[in-house]
């Protein structure tokens, strides 16, 4: 009995370690493939260079860094309020029956392949933006809208769970003071659920910054720093996906280096967000 227990423990530890090992190997591989590009182009030159033209050996990814940031920020501007509002409605105002229908429906969005979102953006949003706002239609705005919708399921279901986890006595305590439902939500339920809502936002941000296919289809992908919401953009992930198929030599290494930069940016964002969440939890 004792021995069996020990065996299970060792097995589980190995399994746990193996997933960490795989992660470690992936990171190692990306760095190994990418670092020569940093050496050759120069780290500073690589991340602040504004021209990306592999044919001419001009390898600066600042336009893509800017693209990733602005598209992700736009997606959050669209998706966070919408997702949080939806979660608040489902958790606090909808009847149990309505919530039981709506929540799985929203979660179904997560199961739709991203290429389908890209296709919808391409056939509906891009022409709409072109006709009503001008520009090529392929734009920061189109990417933000598509991504904003794609992060909804994450945002809604994680913040819904956070809201549901708030003890019912808080709501009761507020209502007993003569508060309206909305006052109870605003004054006590939301503050109580804040760590979970921040976690939802982090996950949503990770989803937005990592999404590739849908963005490629609606962003326009030109390698210039966008100056308006109607300008086309290229993100870091798109840069890799678009060119990896034919890249060789330094160009190929530069794409891996793009991956390294993306990895570092995501790690920093995650870390900051986690610190923020922990600060708010106390």
């Amino acid at each position: 009995m004792r021995n069996k227990e020990k065996l299970v423990e060792i097995l589980l530890t190995l399994i746990g370690l193996s997933s960490v090992t795989v992660l470690g190997l992936i990171i190692l591989f990306i760095f190994k493939e990418g670092l020569p590009a940093f050496a050759q182009v120069g780290l500073w030159q690589f991340v602040t260079g504004t021209r990306w033209s592999p044919g001419k050996n001009l390898l600066g990814i600042l336009p893509m860094i800017a693209g990733s940031f602005v598209v992700t920020a736009g997606a959050l501007v669209v998706g966070l309020p919408l997702g949080l509002g939806c979660a608040i409605y489902l958790s606090e105002f909808a009847t149990a029956k309505t919530a039981a229908i709506l929540k799985p429906t929203i979660e179904l969005l997560a199961g739709i392949p991203s290429v389908v979102f890209g296709f919808i953006g391409l056939t509906l949003m891009v022409p709409f933006i072109r006709n009503f706002f001008g520009g090529p239609g392929f734009s920061v705005l189109a990417s933000a809208l598509v991504l904003g919708i794609m992060i909804l399921p994450t945002m809604v279901s994680v913040s819904y769970d956070a809201l549901r986890a708030v003890p019912p006595v808080y709501r009761e305590g507020m209502l007993a003071l003569g508060s309206t439902d909305w006052q109870a939500v605003k004054m006590v339920v939301l503050p109580a659920a804040r760590p979970g809502i921040l976690a939802a936002a982090i996950l949503a941000m990770g989803r937005a910054i990592g999404e590739t296919m849908a963005v490629i289809m609606v962003a326009g992908n030109s390698t210039i720093i966008p100056t308006s919401f109607l300008d086309p953009v290229r993100t870091l992930t798109s840069n890799i996906a678009l060119e990896m198929g034919y890249a060789t030599g330094l160009h190929r290494q530069a794409l891996f280096a793009t991956g390294v930069v993306l990895f570092v940016i995501i790690s920093i964002l995650n870390l900051t967000a986690r610190v923020v969440v922990r600060g708010k939890t106390r």
């Binding site: 808080y170 305590g173 507020m174 007993a176 003071l177 003569g178 309206t180 004054m187």
Partner: protein, 255 residues
């Protein structure tokens, strides 16, 4: 029976159903102003239901239906024109477990006036201070109002809940087994507090603890199975019960 005290709340043939289940059965009784009235009785007899009918917290439960009346200063609170928000501002409630919102000590008390639309810090400060003083918590917390309310002991959290309940300036405060989560010392402070509060408020307390009712109340109501069995001044009920069921209960032979 109230020895000159006015009736603040009056139940008239009040009945409450959870679906088809009749929990309160044609209950008629009055509660005296500026006194502590205890409701005792075995678990499940309808004490909490009766209490929560007075500030209409039962309205939150699906399938609840009532008949009869509950009058507050003569006005039936189940009339269709009664504003629940107004009603609950006039009738405060303290729950079994202390409710410390995940906010600062200050914000916990300030929640009550804020609900009524008092938002300026200048107006909130004196209300918070008065309420905390009324429950005797002020000396202890005045230098750390910004700290999380969860840092207080359970007994102090319950005092905080009481401070919040009276910060809406109600006439009536309802207590539903307010000491069941507390140690004996904290229990005694809360009992004393209820007595001193009864100078300004009408206090109704549900308790399963007979010693508590005997110690802390002016009048005691004994309930059984959705009916009032006996209701009289506390001393009388405990020393000279008229109904044998009351006698059995207070001597421990029942429930």
């Amino acid at each position: 029976m109230f020895a000159g005290k006015a009736a603040k709340i009056e139940l008239r043939e009040f009945e409450l159903y959870y679906g088809d289940f009749r929990v309160l059965k044609k209950v008629s009784a009055a509660f005296a102003a500026n006194a502590v009235t205890a409701i005792i009785g075995p678990s499940g007899c309808g004490k909490s239901t009766l209490l929560r009918s007075i500030n209409r917290m039962n309205d939150l439960i699906e399938g609840v239906r009532v008949t009869g009346e509950i009058r507050l200063d003569g006005k039936n609170i189940y009339d269709p024109d009664v504003d629940l928000i107004w009603l609950r501002a006039r009738i405060g409630m303290v729950f079994q477990r202390p409710v410390a919102f995940p906010l600062s000590i200050f914000d916990n008390v300030a929640a009550a006036p804020r609900v009524r639309g008092i938002l300026s810090h200048k107006e909130l400060v004196p209300i918070v201070e008065t309420s905390l003083k009324a429950v005797g918590l002020w000396p202890e917390v005045k230098d750390r109002l910004g700290q999380a309310a969860s840092s207080l002991s359970l007994g102090d959290q319950q005092k905080l809940s009481i401070a919040r309940a009276i910060a809406t300036q109600p006439d009536v405060v309802l207590f539903d087994e307010p000491c069941s989560a507390l140690d004996p010392i904290a229990t005694h402070t809360i009992e004393d507090l209820m007595q001193s509060l009864s100078e300004h408020y009408t206090i109704i307390i549900v308790t399963h603890n007979m010693q508590q009712a005997a110690r802390a109340s002016d009048f005691t109501m004994f309930m059984l199975d959705g009916n009032i069995v006996e209701y009289s001044p506390t001393r009388e009920l405990f020393t000279n019960p008229k109904d044998t069921r009351t006698e059995n209960y207070i001597t421990g032979k029942l429930g």
